[in-house]
């Protein structure tokens, strides 16, 4: 079995990074969480606008996301900062995350005695975590412990014809090694039902995939009802997609699904849900790049592969985001932000298989510690909790 050098966790997971997550349980704890992370080596904060004022499934989605981020194997230790009167209790988040066996602490600002004392308290916990993590060495871990999130953004037509299919080859190989991958962006899969039907492992899996698309389509129809069809507000893809030669959401979808390769889909996951087995899953996240990548990371993805056509620089705290473009012009314009140029396939300089192999090797290198360009520049803007029924 293929292996890589990663950070072993108590529950059998393997991290590709060994960072500390500082997670506020409510927006009121954002400032303290950020201040604490800023003082502790290897710590990253996850500020967000949730924790109160949400209801039912929407609240549940926020809770699941915060727990999922804490459980992500890239974080060797987790600190939860609460205020004390919020709906999402710091103690509950800590309890769920601690099930992974990793060190988890929590406190509430109201109990500790305000901002200054809370920051001091948090920094002391954080530095103890950092000291412990600094002594942990990478060990050989099974490649089957890797979960790869798949995403594209700033799509142009090269994404569909070059970089998504090339990423698909790498994903096929990850799956063949026993690994896991998440395809998502439900709103940008409309029109791929025929392909999904062929690739679902069982008719039941296809029914779930189709139901996810139908639910999304109903919401989109409702949201765009009565809005001028040709207006930007009614458009289901971005102006950059249009200028890049993508004319419709179906065209984008049919190019986008290629990044999941050719393996069978073994199941459908909810937003931020962790998979119960290995293999290729469809994850019910949609809308913006942030909403989707956050769900992928909360579902356990240790690495996100992000295909772009017109170029995007974004990253995620503690989870490396590998950028791949199929557009050589974009690569040379934005070389500081993009890791792999697959555009050589169009120019006839390199074959699909060569570029698929290159992406696969890059994923392993990143898993073993190679820094992505988004990490080098400190990009972290892809963190945002999606709202329920948000497409």
């Amino acid at each position: 079995m293929a292996q890589f050098w990663g950070y072993r966790r108590e529950n059998g997971d393997a991290g590709v990074r060994n960072q500390i997550a500082v997670i506020p349980s409510v927006l009121c704890a954002n400032h303290v969480a950020k201040a604490v992370a800023g003082q502790v080596q290897g710590a990253v904060a996850f500020p967000h606008p949730c924790g109160c004022g949400q209801h039912g499934k929407d609240l549940e989605q926020s809770v699941n996301t915060l727990i999922g981020i804490g459980q992500n194997a890239n974080f060797g230790a987790v600190l939860i900062v609460g205020l004390g009167c919020e709906r999402i209790h710091a103690s509950e988040l800590a309890e769920q995350i601690a099930k992974t066996g990793k060190p988890v602490e929590f406190f509430n600002i109201q109990e500790v005695g305000g901002t200054i004392k809370a920051i001091e308290h948090g920094v002391r916990i954080g530095r103890a975590f950092a000291m412990t993590l600094s002594t942990q060495k990478r060990e050989l871990c099974e490649l089957s412990t890797l979960k790869i999130g798949l995403k594209c953004g700033g799509t142009d037509a090269t994404s569909g014809i070059v970089s998504n299919p090339a990423l698909g080859l790498a994903v096929d190989r990850m799956i063949a090694e026993g690994g896991t991958a998440f395809l998502s962006e439900i709103n940008e899969l409309l029109g791929t039902e025929n392909i999904m039907r062929r690739r679902a492992e069982t008719p039941q899996v296809y029914e779930q995939m189709e139901a996810a698309l139908k639910e999304c389509e109903r919401v989109l129809e409702r949201l765009t009802h009565g809005i001028e069809r040709t207006s930007e507000a009614a458009a289901l893809v971005s102006p950059g997609n249009f200028s890049g030669g993508v004319s419709s959401v179906s065209e984008k979808a049919l190019g986008g699904i290629h990044k999941s390769g050719s393996s069978k889909f073994v199941g459908v996951l909810n937003y931020a849900e962790r998979p119960w087995k290995n293999g290729l899953f469809l994850m019910k996240a949609a809308s913006s790049d942030c909403d989707v990548v956050t769900s992928l990371a909360a579902g356990g993805a240790q690495i996100v592969c992000f295909v772009t056509g017109v170029g995007t620089p974004t990253g995620f705290p503690g989870v490396p985001v590998l950028k791949i473009t199929g557009n050589s012009r974009t690569y040379y314009k934005m070389e500081d932000d993009i890791d792999i140029n697959a555009g050589g396939v169009i120019d006839g300089e390199i074959t699909f298989h060569q570029i698929g192999e290159k992406i696969y090797k890059e994923i392993i290198d990143i898993a073993e510690g190679k820094t992505t360009k988004a990490e080098l520049l400190g990009h972290d803007e892809l963190w945002a909790i999606g709202r329920h029924e948000c497409y």
Binding site: I161, R229, S247, E251, I346
Partner: protein, 93 residues
């Protein structure tokens, strides 16, 4: 009147994808299908490979990517000015 590189992704497709910028009057051949461009068409944009009647489907990757808002001539640039998609919307215009 230059010859340009074009890709046809599936045999049943009725649009091709330009692999370089093309001008009106330029030509392209892919998998035995030839076309003369009636418009300037940019890199990555699509060209009609046959005449396509109004309300008929555009096929790329072997699947439907939208329908024709008007009668289309072989060689025309295909984009949002003459293509619409019903997915996530309330039916054809």
């Amino acid at each position: 009147m230059a010859s340009k590189r074009m890709l046809i992704l599936a045999p049943q497709d009725n649009v091709g994808v330009l692999l370089e910028d093309a001008h009106k009057g330029d030509t392209a051949v892919c998998d035995g299908v030839g076309v003369v461009f009636l418009d300037n068409i940019e890199f990555c944009h699509k060209v009609a490979l046959t005449d396509i009647p109004r309300q008929s489907d555009f096929i790329k990757y072997g699947e439907i990517i939208g329908y024709a808002l008007r009668d289309i001539k072989k060689g025309e640039w295909i984009h949002i000015h003459n293509l619409d998609d019903i997915r996530g919307r309330e039916g054809k215009l």
